[in-house]
């Protein structure tokens, strides 16, 4: 991106701010800085994604002992970056973890977790079918996603990231979830 432009701007900014402040509210310039910055929603979701691995059981055939767990991220580059930043290089017990960018038509063979970062219900519904067939855990971030076939869906409530679970979808995917996870979930439903 135009770095020179950015530098120029940074250089000129005190002038611009001073101009605005003087124009609008003379004398309110003593501005302190606040130190603590809360984490972003995306980074907390990425951490959740990693923590979920502790509670999911795949059938043999879909995850052998010691096999790499593949997390495929669809749709949102920001989320992919965040997942990579948070999880890359970590292991889940004896399993190494690989993070992969997923495109809509990609094969899901050998993928254990699919994260759909877009709120598009068409994308979620299409992916739900395929994830179910491939016994992959589908994690989403969209209103009404459980009804579209998602297993775990992130919900933002009052500045907190929470998640909801559909055990019916989980079961149809041939997966099992540990009860420790269900007790933390915001909602657990069991669709038939």
């Amino acid at each position: 991106m135009p770095r020179a432009f950015k530098r120029l701007f940074i250089a000129l900014r005190p002038l611009a701010v001073a101009w605005l402040v003087c124009f609008l509210a003379p004398g309110c310039e003593a501005l302190a800085q606040s130190a603590s910055v809360p984490p972003t929603e995306a980074s907390v979701r990425a951490a959740f994604l990693y923590r979920f691995l502790d509670y999911v059981e795949w059938d043999r055939g879909h995850l052998e002992p010691g096999q790499t767990i593949v997390i495929a991220v669809l749709g949102n580059d920001e989320m992919l970056d965040e997942v990579q930043r948070t999880i890359a290089g970590r292991r889940s017990h004896e399993h190494p973890i690989e993070i992969r960018k997923l495109s809509a038509g990609d094969d899901l063979t050998g993928v254990q977790v699919v994260y759909v970062g877009t709120p598009s219900s068409a994308a979620i519904a299409a992916m739900a079918k395929r994830a179910m067939a491939a016994s992959a855990l589908l994690v989403t971030n969209a209103e009404n996603a459980l009804a579209l076939g998602s297993d775990i869906n992130f919900v933002e409530t009052d500045g907190h990231v929470r998640f909801e679970v559909d055990l019916g979808n989980v079961e149809r995917s041939g997966l099992r979830l540990g009860s420790g996870m269900l007790s933390v979930a915001l909602r657990v439903r069991n669709s038939s």
């Binding site: 900014r13 611009a16 605005l20 972003t40 907390v44 951490a47 923590r51 907190h160 990231v161």
Partner: protein
């Protein structure tokens, strides 16, 4: 033809200007790389307080203003094929379909053909005609498939936007190019229109993505109650692109543009032409001190040639900057400013002319806003916008809002604001007819219309399945546009009406079953306007707009199976208050969507299923256009 002529005149006479530069809708907290998040337990993660990537957009539930968000999914479920139909989904908007291609859209009163005190932005670019101060809804179009959401704020420019619009702000926001990868082809056909749309998006470089689109629309046109043609058949082509770049440091750049052309009334004696193009760039980045800068600039060319109405060519350049400072103690401060200049050319037509014929216009503004957390649950938002233009002295628009959040899912808010509608060329430079003796003259002394607006609102989500919002408002309105007999003959435009408007906006959502979602909305509008003492205005308040007193909107989305979904929408609009009176009407729309294969969606829509036709708006011609029952079959293929 006659109706079109008169309609265009009405357009010219009754248009109002609300000019302001919006606060940019993008603001983001600084990105923090938290190495240890992944070591936290699920419970610890659940309890973490977070900032959102798009702070303002995602926290609309906390905004102390009357905000309704139409999501992209809502639009696609509804079967809407143009912006006017999409806006009908908002319970806090009055939308009257005028004919097959045009709509009157307003908020909190003053519904008119070119309505008036409502600011409209498409991806941060104002689409107000700053000459006639209104939005031509038959000119504005976007590819609805790629709309992310439409934020409808009723009331004066909400605290988030800065004090800018009078009665409301509509923000039409399209998706980032990163969220529209791949191809989509849409073909739709029915008894009243034919549409083709094509879009393709792909990654570009390591951190960028682009999309290009093209669309063709063919509206067949409607008839009037007397059986004559409304001369509203419209053919229109539009194409455009969008590029988005997201850098690792949280910087985000967007470059987008559109180009369009169209003809209206090709079967009529006088064809109308429209064409235009625009190019917008936006760059947002974080500074080391935790504040975020957003810069935006655009150029826009819009031309319409209406031989028996009003012809106009407007070229505009706009630049804006916003600085969201890092939080300082209990204060969240935003500062910004903008400058816009344009050259407006209004060649005389058969019915009017402007003196001077061409004019350079400019606007500049600065604004500041402080969101001050008084206590844990009580937040005050103080905003001020100062704007100058070519016609008037600087206008001050202060805005004070208080929000009390007694519990996480409850918000009680109150606001007091000053809103201003500044003079436009149609107030100052307009003359009718095209030759003397003039019946209507612009007034170089015309002053801004003003409103002192008080609002009280409550929003709650008592359960995971039910949420609602209630807002009441009182508008003290002064210096409204009117006419006054001129010593030179005819009438001269003047500030000669005032009064007040009150109303109530209620809406809610209820997830009745896991696969059944219900929404409702009620909008009550009362305008009490009168001529000022000494005013000899010939028409009175009816010239300012014609509103229903009651509106009710109901919507249901029923997911029948994972591949089949039914959407039903009902709206009732009571009789319009003034002459010409449009009787009360109701319309019920259905849209059935079937995902035939993962790549192919088919949908079938019936609009106004239970009536052969109805009328939503009447101009002064005595024979309004009728909106017929409409069938539409749509195929959407993704690749």
């Amino acid at each position: 033809m006659h109706s079109r002529l008169e309609r265009r005149l009405l357009v010219a006479l009754m248009s109002f200007l609300t000019l302001s530069i919006p606060a940019l809708g993008v603001a983001s907290g600084p990105v923090q790389v938290a190495d240890n998040l992944a070591d936290m337990s699920l419970e610890e993660l659940s309890n973490l307080q977070v900032t959102t990537a798009a702070k303002r957009a995602e926290k609309l539930s906390d905004v102390p203003a009357s905000v309704y968000v139409i999501t992209g999914d809502d639009i696609r479920r509804s079967g809407a094929t143009n912006l006017g139909q999409a806006l009908q989904l908002a319970p806090n908007l009055e939308v009257a379909q005028v004919n097959s291609e045009n709509f009157a859209v307003s908020s909190r009163g003053f519904l008119n053909l070119v309505t008036n005190k409502l600011l409209v932005l498409i991806d941060g670019r104002t689409v107000y005609s700053p000459v006639l101060s209104g939005v031509f809804w038959n000119v504005q179009q976007v590819m609805l498939e790629d709309v992310d959401r439409i934020e409808v704020i009723s009331g004066p420019g909400a605290a988030l936007e800065g004090a800018n619009a009078f009665d409301g702000v509509i923000n039409i926001i399209t998706k980032s190019a990163a969220d529209t990868l791949g191809g989509v082809a849409i073909a739709a056909g029915g008894n009243n229109q034919r549409d083709y749309q094509l879009r393709y998006g792909a990654p570009l470089g390591d951190a960028g993505a682009f999309r290009i689109y093209a669309m063709h629309t063919d509206d067949f046109g409607t008839t009037r109650t007397d059986g004559a043609s409304e001369d509203d058949d419209m053919r229109r082509d539009q194409a455009g692109f969008r590029y988005d770049y997201s850098g690792a440091a949280g910087d985000h750049a967007t470059l987008q543009g559109d180009i369009y052309q169209g003809t209206i009334g090709s079967l009529a004696g006088s064809v109308e032409y429209i064409n235009g193009a625009n190019l917008l760039g936006r760059y947002a980045f974080d500074l080391h001190d935790g504040s975020r800068i957003t810069l935006q600039s655009y150029i826009d060319h819009a031309e319409q040639i209406v031989p028996r109405g009003l012809s106009d060519t407007f070229d505009v350049f706009d630049i804006e900057i916003q600085d969201d400072l890092a939080r300082i103690g209990d204060h969240n401060i935003s500062l910004g400013g903008g400058y816009r200049t344009g050259y407006d050319q209004t060649p005389p037509t058969e019915v009017e002319h402007f003196i001077p014929q061409n004019r350079t216009l400019y606007w500049s503004n600065i604004f500041a806003q402080d969101q001050y957390a008084l206590t844990q649950t009580l937040t005050a938002t103080l905003g001020l916008k100062i704007e100058t233009d070519v016609y008037t002295s600087p206008q001050y628009m202060p805005d004070v809002r208080l929000a009390w959040k007694p519990a996480p899912d409850h918000l009680l808010w109150a606001a007091a604001s000053r809103a201003v509608r500044t003079p436009a060329r149609v107030d100052r430079d307009f003359y009718f007819p095209s030759q003397p003796p003039y019946l209507i003259r612009g007034n170089s002394e015309f002053q801004p219309e003003t409103g002192d607006i008080y609002e009280l609102g409550y929003r709650a989500q008592p359960s995971g399945r039910f949420s609602y919002s209630v807002t009441a408002y009182y508008n003290q309105l002064d210096n409204l546009r009117s006419g006054q007999p001129s010593p030179l003959g005819g009438f001269v435009i003047a500030n000669g009406m005032s009064g007040y408007g009150t109303g109530l906006e209620i809406w809610g959502n209820y997830q009745a079953l896991d696969n059944l979602r219900l929404s409702f909305g009620v909008d009550e509008i009362r305008q009490n306007l009168h001529r000022d003492a000494g005013s000899l205005d010939p028409t009175g308040p009816s010239a300012l707009g014609n509103d229903p007193r009651h509106m009710v909107k109901l919507r249901a989305t029923y997911t029948i199976s994972p591949t089949v979904e039914l959407n039903a929408a009902f709206r009732y609009v009571s009789q319009l208050a003034y002459l010409p009176q449009v009787p009360a009407y109701n319309a019920t729309d259905f849209n059935l969507r079937w995902r035939a294969t993962p790549k192919l969606d088919l949908s079938f829509a019936v609009l106004d299923a239970f009536h052969a036709q109805h009328v939503e708006w009447e101009d002064s011609s005595g024979a309004p256009g009728v909106i017929p029952r409409e069938f539409l079959l749509t195929a959407r293929y993704s690749f």
